[in-house]
């Protein structure tokens, strides 16, 4: 009799613990519950790198040294030197949003590497307006933002380590000199992916 009761209780235990819910749930992006993988760049790494870059860039006052503020920024090449296929906008967009919201700089979407505009429609309309008014409306960017993401790996026994270096340079378009440079290194170590930091 006793064993029957215990058996029934044990059988009911997984349902009590697990409930009827699925394990899918929302977590805060970049929060403590995010998955941490050693061998790839996680979303919280991009957030950390962008946070460090924005803090450092705004504190430097480099964007304030223009004749007519806010400064105009053009995005140049961000080289991916990691073994992964990544979208560098995961880093760059966060920086762009932060500098725009700071009121220190605006990013052009009609100028890009190799003459490719990020927003072709805006470029077309801008050219049309310039043609109609016979006046050049385009403001030459004061600065360009370029950079590189580098991956360095190491292994000792079953422990794996990856370092991701996020390097950024802000170049004065008139002089061609880097007026601000920032680097954020993120090192992760472990044997398998885990949740949280």
């Amino acid at each position: 009799m006793k064993s029957k009761i215990i058996f029934s209780l044990l059988a009911a235990l997984p349902f009590v613990i697990g409930g009827c819910a699925t394990n899918a749930h929302y977590v805060e992006t970049g929060g403590r519950e995010n998955v941490v993988s050693v061998n790839q760049i996680n979303i919280q790494d991009y957030i950390q790198a962008a946070n460090a870059a924005v803090n450092d860039l705004l504190a430097s006052g480099a964007l304030d040294r223009v004749a007519t503020p806010p400064a105009v920024l053009a995005i140049s090449r961000i080289v991916n030197n990691t073994g992964q296929q990544i979208d560098t906008d995961l880093l760059v967009k966060k920086i762009r949003v932060a500098v725009l919201n700071s009121g220190k700089a605006q990013t052009t979407t009609t100028m890009g590497l190799g003459g490719t505009a990020e927003d072709p429609m805006a470029k077309g309309l801008q050219q049309e307006n310039e043609f109609k008014s016979d006046q050049k409306a385009t403001r030459t960017p004061d600065f360009t933002l370029s950079g590189k993401i580098i991956e360095t790996t190491a292994r000792a026994g079953s422990t794996r380590q990856s370092t991701y270096s996020f390097q950024l340079s802000l170049t004065d378009s008139k002089t061609g000199l880097a007026v601000w440079e920032g680097e954020k290194e993120i090192t992760k170590q472990g044997t398998r992916p885990s949740v949280g930091f």
């Binding site: 946070n51 924005v54 803090n55 504190a59 964007l63 304030d64 949003v97 932060a98």
Partner: protein, 138 residues
């Protein structure tokens, strides 16, 4: 007798495994810089973290572009490495929170008995107040 010997050895072994490494420092005695310390208001809900990683003081300055820059000095009161997360929150003149990438949750660590600084820069010149949150790492 055997247990008397084994017990201290086990204790030493445990200490060696947990890695009680503390930090020695040296700095200039006659300071040239003057930190503009501010009075702070604290809310400690995690006493365990508060005991381990304590807030020594907060100082602030302005960046060349007129942004508020805040620096918090922390001290690890334990003899072992402590991991924690922190987040800067920024508020405008009306007390409304300004959320940007500058409000991200950031992981950090501090060696035993070490004193270190963390800093944040306001996301725009309208930010007048701040709050820093500390959460113990998992």
């Amino acid at each position: 007798m055997k247990t008397r010997i084994l017990l201290p050895l086990a204790g030493i072994g445990l200490l060696a495994l947990t890695g009680c490494t503390t930090v020695n420092t040296v700095e200039n005695a006659d300071k040239q810089g003057q930190r503009q310390m501010i009075t702070d208001q604290r809310a400690i809900t995690d006493a365990s973290l508060g005991r381990k990683v304590s807030i020594v003081g907060v100082n602030q300055s302005m960046t060349p572009g007129g942004l508020l820059k805040v620096q918090v000095e922390l001290e690890n009161r334990t003899r072992s490495l402590q991991r924690f997360n922190y987040r800067f929150e920024w508020f405008d003149a009306n007390g409304m929170q300004v959320t940007t990438v500058a409000s991200a949750l950031l992981p950090d660590q501090i060696e035993g008995k070490e004193s270190k600084f963390i800093f944040g820069v306001a996301p725009n010149p309208n930010c007048k107040d701040f709050r820093v949150k500390f959460i113990e790492a998992q």
